[in-house]
Amino acid sequence: MNIWELIIQQPVINILIVMSHYLANNFGLAIIALTVIVNLALLPLTMSQIRSSKKMQDLQPKLVDLQKKYAKDKQKLAQEQMKLYKESGVRPAGCALTMIIQMPVWIALYQAIMLALAVAPEGLLNLSKYLYPWQVVYSVLPLNPDFLIMNLAQPNLILALLVGVTMWLQQKMSMTPQADPRQAQQANMMLWMMPILFAYMALNFTSGLSLYWVTSSVFRIILQYRVTGWGGLRKQAPTPASESDKKYLKFEAAQEKKSSKDAGADIVDADSISSRKGTRIFKTDKYKFQPDKDRERHRKK
């Protein structure tokens, strides 16, 4: 056995088999339980990433300021942005890091599912070399692939759709409002591309892996909700007509949020203000673009 098999694949396979035994020989429950355990193990990292995302939202006004200030010096702008990120403890690549760390688990899980469910005779034969010498491991093999109405060894359309939907929800909740339309467009592309890609993969892989993805997304949705509320899922404000208006709106919303009791994203505050006053905030003069007055008010605060 190579290092990968010894450290990742073999433990995952045996843990899944033992869990399946103690969860009424239900492999689906074993996958869900393993997913929760993996996510709990990654909790510090995930929380750090969620908080980082939250900080990113809070930093938007400062980023806008920087963009204004160094509009003509892109190098300086990049330096200042990185400095700001560093000072605030924000890791822009945090999301990617969490995903990359989880990838070996996906692969190990996929391999474990394919081998333990005896999808191919060669798989079952190869499985024998991964088994720990525990009686319980030997007696429950091969595992029962049935879970609810699904066969976990085969792709499942419903689960593939759930993969896409839950991943979209989770990404949407954690989305950072972007001041730059190009960045917003990229973020929007990401919001759709990843769920579509994963749903497509789920359609072609065993549904056991899809079950892992769905459970994982639901877990992260719960975490995200606890930290940031519904975040990007809240009704978004209409896009202001001009670029400067939009920047101003983001700036104001973030400032308002600091004094509010809510812990949600910038947009959350905008909505709450709107509901409290019972008016559409964008029609009031207060939110019109008034650079001089605004700077003055900001200084006073």
Binding site: A78, I107, Q135, S139, Q154, D180
Partner: protein, 390 residues
Amino acid sequence: MKSKGKWYCGRVVFLLALVIAVALVGVGCVSGLTPIGWSGGIVSNSILYVGSNEGRLVAVNLADESLKTSDPLKLASQPGLFGCAPSAGGGCGAGISRVAIYGTPVVAGDLVYIAGYNGKIYAYDKNDISQPRWVYPPEDYLRDDKKDIVPIVGGIVAAQGRLYFGGSDGKVYALDTNTHKELWKFPTDDKIWSTPAIDGDTLYVGSFDKKLYALNAADGKKKWEFVTEGAIISTPLVYNNTIYFGSFDRNLYAVNACDGKLKWKFMGKNWFWAEPVVFNDTIYAGCLDGNVYVLKADSGQEVKIFDLKSPVSSQPVIVDSSVIFATRKGVIYSIATGSQDIKQVADLKADVDGPLTAYEGIVYIHTQQLELQRINAANGTLYSPVSLKS
């Protein structure tokens, strides 16, 4: 601003590419997910019939080494993304383009029978194997329950004008070789990958439901069942009114053929995957723990253990008074039954999972590299392999 946009765009593309790459690598690196097959061979009139890893029946004339191949068995459905189609009896990794054949062909009368992972039984004329004479169920057959295909992993037993085999749907089937019609079927509670064994009027077959069944070969009625603590995949060996078989609980069982009562059991360190052989009241059982266990057939008492240092999944053969074993890594050993000495005969440096075949002192080994290796069992001479590529 522009550079940041590019950075974001790059990040999106990088992440997508990373996910796809990891998925491809992860799937591609997994061994054992693609059904390939490990058919053994059978010799009739100096012609060896074997199911190749290309999904064809191959007839090798042992006299002149000439080769005849059938058309490839037809796939049940097409592969999906990355070559994955588990529902079609396929897997991932290499893209499924052929039907795996696991069971060793059987010859009865003028026909050669072979079972495919596509859930079909094919009957070929011994002298012309290009096209099957008949197929069960027919190619256009739609299953009553409209479920996915039922892969056949075990082999076929031919006796008294009938074919017996088990399917992954957990049923044992009996077919009439003349009418090609189903005579009876017997349901078990899980998959059947074991090749049945017949002795007189009784058919013995193991199932993933952890039971060994003794069925009346005439009508499929159950005579008795024997429950173990693990799934049964090995083909039962019938000898001296006793059934010997391995179970996934790591035991080799000896069960009375008349009433299904346990005579003895012997525990190895892994599964007894392959069917054991018996010689002079001594059982020779290869195990996936890399050992060959030599046991007394009547009591299960251990005579000797040979460590082959690699799992044994292929059924051994007896040539003269020697038992020939192959490890999964392709190392061939000969155990002298008299002195109980072992010697390494050859190292094929090829993967071997299927049963060995012996004919006129030569051992034929179908390797996973699409070759038929030939070894002289007496002196260990390794002849040039016969390629089974079409």
